[in-house]
Structures are given as C-alpha cells and as structure tokens.
Symmetry: C2
Subunit: 278 residues, 2 copies
C-alpha cells in the first residue's frame, strides 16, 4: 500500500474507485482526475491560485438561476461546448456542419406557412432566407422541419425581453415540401455580447477577450431518417467572425447576404442544408 | 486565420488571449484549456455527460454557504488539494511533511500553559500529546507556536456544533521554551465522515467510495525563520488510514498511541516536529 504523493497522485486517487462502479463513470472520472492533476503539476499551481479558482467556481455556481446558466457560459468561452459538439458530430465532407445550440432555443415555435414573416416587432432590416434541405446525394428532403430563431435588431432574443418583445418574435418552424425548399422573412441578424456582468465576464476581461458573438441565424433542421442538424448561418463580413466569444464560427457556415432593391425585403440570404442519413 | 475545429481547439482558444494579459494568468489558463480539451477528447465526452457535469457543478456551487464549501470538498476528494499542498511544500528528507489544512482551523485559539487540557466537554478518552519542535539538525526551537485542534469524541469540531460544544473545545496554542518541548492533554481523536449529503457525497457514492477520514490531530507549527508546517498526526491502526477520503495520510505522519495505566491520562502519543529553515 502506497500513500498519496506528488508523483503517484493519479494512481492513488483513481485506484480508490470501486471496481463495481459503472464502467463509463470510472472511465470519465479517471480521465478527469488524470488531467486535473497534470494541470496542477504542469503549471505548478500555487495555493493562492487554487483559492482563486475555488472562489471563481463558487461565484459561478451562485449566480446561476432558472434564467441564467453561468457554467454553460464558462464552457462556451473555454471552447469546451464547441469541442464536445465537434467530437460528437463528425460528418462527411459536404454535409452541413453543426455548431453550438446556445441557450435561446424554445420548443414549440409556431408552425408557419412557407415564406411567412417571423419578425413580429417591426424592427430591423428585413431579409428573405431561402434554400433547400438536401441529402448528401443532392436530392431534396420532403417533410424536413426547419426550426429557426434569431435575436432582434437590438441584439436580444424574445425570451430575454418578455415584457418588451412579442412572444415568438423572430422564431418559427417550416416544413419542406417535395422540392425540399424553405423560405421565410426575418431580419438580418446583429452581433451581440454574451452576458458579461458575472464571473465569466470578469474572466474574459482578465485574459483580454471581448464578449461579442458575430451576427447569426439559428437553425435546428430535423427529418426522419437523418441526423439532427444544429447550426447557425453567420453574416459574411461581420467584424466578430474571427473572434466569436464562443468559437461557433466555421468557414462553411458563413452565408452571403445580398442587398436588394425594389424587392419586398432589403436583403436576401441563400443557404442549403445537407443532412446525413442515420 | 483558422476557425475552431476538433483538432486545433486548444490553439484557437489559447490564441485568443491578449498578449497584454498578465503572463501568469495566461500560463495557468492556457494549461487549463489544454487539459480540459484533452480530457474531453480522450474520453470522447458525450453531450449528456457534459450536461450532467454542468448540472453537478451548478449544484455544487449552489449548496455553498458561509458554513459550507462544497468546491473545496470536491477538490479534496479528487486529490487536488493534497497535490497542490505537495507541489508547494517539497521538503528535505527528515523534515516533517505537510498535509491538508482542512476547513476547521480557527484563528486565535487560546494560548495555554504547557501541559494544559484542551478538551472542555469532558468527553472521550484522554490523551497526553507531547514531543519537541526541532530544526533539521536536531536542535530545539524556542518560541515555536504549536496550534492544535481536533474533533470531539462524537466526531465533530466545536465550530460544527456551536450550540452543543463549548467554544474552543479541543483547541489551543502552546509556545515552546528553550527545550523545544510541547505537551497538552486532549482526547484520542476519532474518525469521522466528511459532509456527504450534497453533490460531492453523491459523486463518492457513484464511484464507490466512502466519505470517512481516519482519526487525526491537527497541527499548525510556526516559528520565526522557519517554514510554516501544516500537518496532522494520524492514529496508528485506524481502519481508514489506507482510504482517507481526502488522501491526507503520509507514512511519516502516523503516530503511536500508547495505552497507559495508573496515569492521569488513558493514552500518550509522542511526536516530534522537524521544521525547515526559510
């Protein structure tokens, strides 16, 4: 029997787990302990830094509420959310890539007629979004559900301003027909900062990072027999594309926005979604 | 410019830190991000596991209060507290080793006369603790402060039972004379479980670990010109020596307890503390 020491710490801690514990729980926890110890050892973590970490985690937990999830925000700004998304959604070349889901999706948005307007507060630059839902062979998918949501022209989602914005503002669901096409009228979305008045905002400030996300439209595209697609399209040219606070941008998700004249909407953005079979 | 991906995640996240941020902050955070990402990648962390982790951390933060620090408890049971202590208190062979400070020390315990009793509730098996405070050459250190504290016979510290135990029960400070000797009368301490009615207790249960600590007496030994010594002595033969929930036991800290007869106390435990010069 060997007691805990600086050199055997991982073995002693992980050796303490019961052989009867759930095998996956053992696997994840032993991997966590290994990296936690390696972190402390590699950077020679000092007692006052450990204390600062304990204090940070405590404040992060205490600011959480039904309306605010500061630990998800922390995971987002450290790139962990995107990494978990990437690891679990490897797709063949050509298929539309996933990105972070974000905290602002709401189940059960109104089912709308194809081409209908989702902007209910009359604010912002109107934009026609259109495209197709296709399989990897380029064939249209009928009966796909395209669930969309975005912030309003002030940079807030309806759920962040329940007393100001109409319910379901800039949200809707659309079901594709035999041609696989979708179309709706929203606004050209605007960039906005993630909540930065808590511990995560303080952390970003300490490491010299801003809290902004580039403008994006959210999509959740589902169809029977195909993998669920959770993604955004980003507004090409946005100043925060290369510094998204949550690392959500991918090259293939940047969409063109064409300025129109003499049309019912001020902008148009075309984007096709390519789904992978289950 | 390369956007975030599964393979470059560490570089992209750490590359976002400002060159003007505090260098040590950069070092610690980049080491943390590297290991956090390596953890997720190596165990192929699944979305539902990530969610369970977010939920666990949130509950851990929310149960914290002025009387309870669940994140320290988490750090303790994962061996991080002992590792940080070990990394920051490397000592030459022969010097008394450190162990975890624990949450139960109170500043300003009564200064008592050498040999005086610290047990005020009349409970437990009385024990004479005695020994010397020495330098690494074996010379006595005069004017060392030996600050001691332990649980009572029911396994609780006075601060855990302010309405039941007398204030300063099983606590005291002693100043050595020219011979470096200390002596006091307390109780033979008893093993006790760490608080296991919260998220950390649930985690221990999931990985098949018990919450018990082997019986120990706490010591904080300080003397001008010497490194601060924070340690315990453990009761030899305790059933939890090899499975301390917080990994605090070291071979050199296990103390003999001699059963006495016809003496003022039922037990005697001798232990010398060897301090390292600053």
């Amino acid at each position: 029997m060997s007691y805990f020491s600086e050199t055997n710490s991982e073995q002693v801690v992980n050796g303490r787990m019961s052989p009867e514990a759930d095998p996956r729980m053992r696997e994840v926890m032993s991997c966590l302990v290994r990296h936690l110890h390696a972190f402390a050892r590699e950077c020679h973590l000092r007692p006052e830094e450990w204390e600062a970490g304990i204090d940070f985690l405590t404040r992060t937990g205490q600011i959480c509420s039904p309306e605010r999830q500061e630990f998800i925000l922390l995971s987002d700004v450290l790139g962990l959310s995107m990494l978990v998304d990437a690891i679990n959604n490897r797709r063949p070349e050509g298929a539309t890539e996933n990105t972070v889901f974000g905290p602002f999706h709401v189940e059960g948005a109104p089912l709308r007629r194809m081409g209908e307007r989702i902007t209910l507060d009359g604010k912002g630059e109107s934009c026609l979004f259109r495209g197709r839902v296709l399989d990897c062979g380029g064939n249209p998918i009928e009966g796909a559900c395209v669930d969309v949501w975005s912030d309003n022209a002030d940079g807030y989602y309806d759920v962040q301003q329940p007393d100001i914005q109409p319910k379901w503002n800039n949200r809707g669901r659309f079901i594709t027909g035999a041609d696989g096409r979708y179309a709706f009228v929203g606004i050209k979305p605007v960039s906005y900062p993630i909540p930065d008045d808590g511990p995560v905002g303080q952390l970003l400030s300490r490491i010299g990072r801003h809290p902004w996300r580039p403008a994006h439209m959210h999509y959740l595209v589902t169809a029977p027999g195909y993998q669920k697609l959770i993604t955004h399209t980003f507004v090409d040219g946005d100043e925060y594309l290369e510094s998204d606070a949550v690392f959500g941008v991918k090259n293939t998700l940047i969409a063109d926005y064409e300025k129109l004249s003499g049309q019912p909407t001020e902008w148009r953005s075309d984007f096709d979604f390519i789904l992978v079979e289950n």
